[in-house]
Assembly symmetry: C2
Homo-oligomer: 201 residues x 2
Amino acid sequence: MSKAATPDHPIHDVLSSRWSPYGFSDRPVSEHDLCCLFEAARWAASSFNEQPWRFLVATKDDPKEFARMLSCLSDANQEWAKRAPVLILSVASTKFSRNDKPNGSAWHDVGLASASLTFEATARGLSAHWMAGIHRDKIRSEYELPGDFEPVTGIAIGYAEAIEDVPEPFRKRDSGTRTRRSIDEFVFIGDFGESAPFTKG
Amino acid sequence: MSKAATPDHPIHDVLSSRWSPYGFSDRPVSEHDLCCLFEAARWAASSFNEQPWRFLVATKDDPKEFARMLSCLSDANQEWAKRAPVLILSVASTKFSRNDKPNGSAWHDVGLASASLTFEATARGLSAHWMAGIHRDKIRSEYELPGDFEPVTGIAIGYAEAIEDVPEPFRKRDSGTRTRRSIDEFVFIGDFGESAPFTKG
């Protein structure tokens, strides 16, 4: 199953082939692949090279830890994420380690690292699906996060399921058309809201 | 000039070859390439497909707009970013358009889109350098950002300068060794802070 983007301008295959499936097959993800995914995250950029990203991981190989992490997702996300072989919770360190001051870029930089992780996943034939719907207070207590750390997102990782094997209502979602604003709607020159002329070329 | 990562585990070339130079050559970036960079950002994932990213752009072709954006960067960043042919300010829409509720994932999702933009840039032989040091209040007033939008980062885009042409003190920075925590320091299983066994393979 794949669902490539339909770009107006050419973009790299790894970017156009990335999408967020609801249906995951039961094929496990190798430990080698997991290492490479986190290695990709490792080399992301960050403000003052703080590397504010942390990742909690649970795989189906460890049913107890998997159930524990699954329970930290919203009910709606549990319904489909329970079929993914790997769950991840991204966590942000919200203070700079060098001076204990707030790091306003922490969430952004966790996004950069998570995106790198997902590029590497896509390049390996894997898929990732982010989840904003997570129980933040529960994660904080369940994993005893220190006060300077904040849960950011959940990420399900695995191999996308063949569409005919995806159960409803998720098959319908995975079959849906991918939509995005065109670039002239979010790229501006001069005034905020004024489309950059080159976007209309 | 290139400065590839030295990964412990294999990662995609586009990821390992990405780095953040201080030295940019005066070679301009084509409008076609700019379109492709923003097209890459366009297809990023976001919570509820909100696509909370906006980008203000200024190129050296328009000296007035370039100077205006440059003045929105911290003094330290202006020193080197003034040599880049393209400057970008990323902006987050902090409320969901469908219901006006706060979007807690906005900064994270701007990070996802910016990472895609940078991945595409790297694949095209370009480099990007994020800047957390920006004058947020000035950006808000200069570009008359509506209240629900927040400046996130600056991004300088261009071709990395040959190291012998990079002026000091930036040549020293561009020659420095790239360092990162190893993955066992940020990938945990079970308890927060407990290295995932597979990271020690």
